[in-house]
């Protein structure tokens, strides 16, 4: 199998994230929260870390050189932030909603052609390029988690609006106001890291053109505008959540091609 032992770690991480999501959803159907979501996601995060460490050793640099590595790094960042943020802010079910996104990213990374089967060491390491890549992907972890919280908000908002209040999902979702506050916090965290990534992007060599950095600046501006509108003018929770989800999906799609 191409990619060696690290691929097995990635498969393990994907299985654990899938288990976290499925067990969480099944528990909700029975009206209670799964106590296994957090430990299983911690297991997934450790397996992701093992994968990234092995790829990093092989590359002799931050493992962000093919699309598969970027996706796994992103999944790791999302999982790590969930583990840090979910229990701290007591956002119940964040893990259940994050797990499918992690599974999706990693499943795509596992597709043939996504990961270099024999990753080559990097000959020339530029610290600004490394900082740009790592901070940008970490930022996307925060923005992804904000999008996950946005989806949770949209689900809860719909249930409250349509008076569908008897499901286990409804009972265990965090309150509307807490979800909105969490989204704002996560977006600020993501934006702060993205700012470092963008600044580092300006300082790194631009052998392959500026398109990538211009796209990063547009994404940065879009998130800043969203947060300023929220803080200054105000925006309905539904539009804010929809914008957080749409911006994340759009910007991820843009970077897949730029």
């Amino acid at each position: 199998m191409g990619g060696g032992v690290e691929r097995w770690f990635l498969i393990l991480a994907t299985i654990l994230a899938a288990l976290a999501g499925v067990s969480g959803m099944m528990s909700l159907r029975h009206g209670h929260r799964s106590r296994w979501t957090l430990p299983t996601m911690v297991g997934a995060m450790l397996a992701q870390f093992a994968f990234l460490s092995l790829r990093g050793q092989a590359r002799g640099a931050c493992p962000l050189l093919d699309f598969g590595e970027v996706l796994v790094f992103l999944a790791w960042s999302l999982t790590l932030l969930y583990i840090l943020v979910g229990p701290t802010y007591r956002i119940s079910l964040l893990g259940v909603f994050s797990a499918p996104v992690v599974v999706l990213f990693q499943a795509v990374a596992l597709l043939p052609g996504m990961l270099d089967e024999s990753p080559q060491p990097v000959t020339e390491i530029n610290p600004w390029r490394e900082t740009h890549a790592a901070m940008s992907v970490l930022a996307y972890g925060g923005l992804a988690l904000a999008a996950v919280a946005g989806v949770m908000f949209l689900v809860l908002d719909r249930q409250l609006k349509e008076h569908h209040l008897s499901s286990g999902l409804f009972r265990h979702l965090p309150p509307v106001r807490e979800l909105l506050v969490s989204m704002v916090r996560l977006l600020w965290i993501g934006l702060a890291m993205l700012t470092i990534g963008v600044v580092a992007g300006f300082l790194m060599p631009h052998d392959s053109g500026w398109a990538h950095l211009i796209a990063a600046c547009v994404v940065w501006l879009a998130y800043l505008a969203l947060l300023l509108v929220k803080q200054v003018r105000g925006i309905t929770g539904r539009r804010f959540a929809f914008a957080a989800v749409a911006l994340f999906v759009l910007s991820l799609s843009v970077f897949a091609f730029v």
């Binding site: 809860l156 409250l160 609006k161 309150p175 509307v176 105000g234 929770g237 539009r239």
Partner: protein
């Protein structure tokens, strides 16, 4: 020694009978102590709430218990009193502690009331081996029933449902601001329930300003003249409306006018009036969550149904636990 429980409750006796045998909390220990003065009675605990008065005793015989109660309370009409003996006493206590015997199934207050009654009896020296073990195990089982079944899940009243929804929208209610439009009893209860959970400011408006002032004073709030309530919407999180108006009082333009000032924050509208006070079109505004009396009643009904569905599991749990414990006298 025989374990005996004699009592009356909301099902066995009307309020005019129950009130004759009610014992104030401060006298529970003393009353339990007085029962020991009767021949053949070794231990006693007296439980008295608005819905029940019960005597838990260990005595030489059931007759000794009945004689003691007859002498001390002139118990009178026996048709209102129920009697449990041996294991049935333990089962009954667990049912009461678990809220299975309460008027509102699964209510939580009774657990604290029994604990208080036992504490007072124990402090007065009215309990020893048999009742100590019975009550301590009973509390354990009652706690398990509450934590491991859904017997106390969901609000079973309109006011309780409104509070649960408010908590689903705002989380902790500390600092939440409420306006009551129409100072009726139902709106008072709902606002009071929100205040008891931390809502800080209450504005009250009513066609009769005097009534608004009265209700606002009861809740530590502020009265607002009826033609000035609309601008107050800009600063509140919850609106409770219950006027007697034959047409809608809160219209979409009232909310539209304050959306920008509110920065589009969530707004929870509770319409407990019939005919409805709040135009249903208001509920179509993005950040507005509108609930009317029917929906709140349905929520309370569903919670009651869910609780009823738990009774069998609770009874099974009680029997399993009692089988394991082998309490003296049971």
């Amino acid at each position: 020694m025989e374990l005996v429980c004699v009592g009356l409750n909301h099902r066995s006796a009307p309020v005019e009978v129950r009130e004759r045998f009610a014992v104030p909390p401060a006298r529970l220990g003393e009353t339990a102590r007085q029962l020991l003065e009767h021949e053949g009675v070794a231990e006693s605990v007296v439980v008295s709430t608005c819905n029940r008065t019960e005597f838990y005793l260990s005595a030489e015989s059931v007759e000794a218990v009945l004689t003691a109660l007859e002498r001390q309370f002139e118990a009178g009409d026996p048709e209102h009193w129920y009697r449990r003996q041996g294991r049935d006493v333990a089962r009954h206590l667990c049912r009461v502690a678990g809220g299975l015997d309460s008027m509102v199934l699964g209510e939580t207050e009774i657990f604290g009331q029994i604990k208080d009654a036992y504490r007072r009896a124990h402090a007065s020296g009215s309990t020893a081996g048999m009742l100590n073990r019975l009550f301590q195990r009973g509390f354990g089982i009652g706690k398990r029933i509450r934590s491991e079944t859904g017997i106390q899940e969901g609000a079973t009243s309109v006011a309780g449902s409104a509070v649960e929804l408010a908590e689903k929208i705002f989380g902790k209610l500390q600092g939440t601001r409420v306006i009551v439009i129409g100072a009726g009893e139902m709106s008072r209860q709902t606002a009071q329930a929100l205040v008891s959970r931390g809502a800080s400011s209450v504005f009250v408006t009513n066609r009769s300003f005097d009534r608004a002032v009265e209700l606002a004073a009861q809740m530590g709030g502020r009265a607002v003249p009826f033609d000035e309530w609309a601008p107050v919407l800009a600063g509140v999180d919850v609106v409770i409306s219950s006027t007697g108006a034959p047409h809608a009082v809160v219209l979409p333009h009232h909310v539209e006018a304050v959306r920008r000032v509110r920065k589009f924050r969530p707004l929870f509208l509770i319409d407990i009036a019939v005919p409805r006070d709040i135009d249903p079109a208001v509920g179509e505004i993005d950040e507005v969550y509108l609930y009317d009396i029917d929906t709140l009643e349905q929520l309370a009904d569903k919670a009651r149904e869910r609780r009823r569905a738990q009774i069998e599991a609770c009874e099974r749990m009680i029997d399993e636990e009692l089988d394991k414990l082998n309490l003296p006298g049971t």
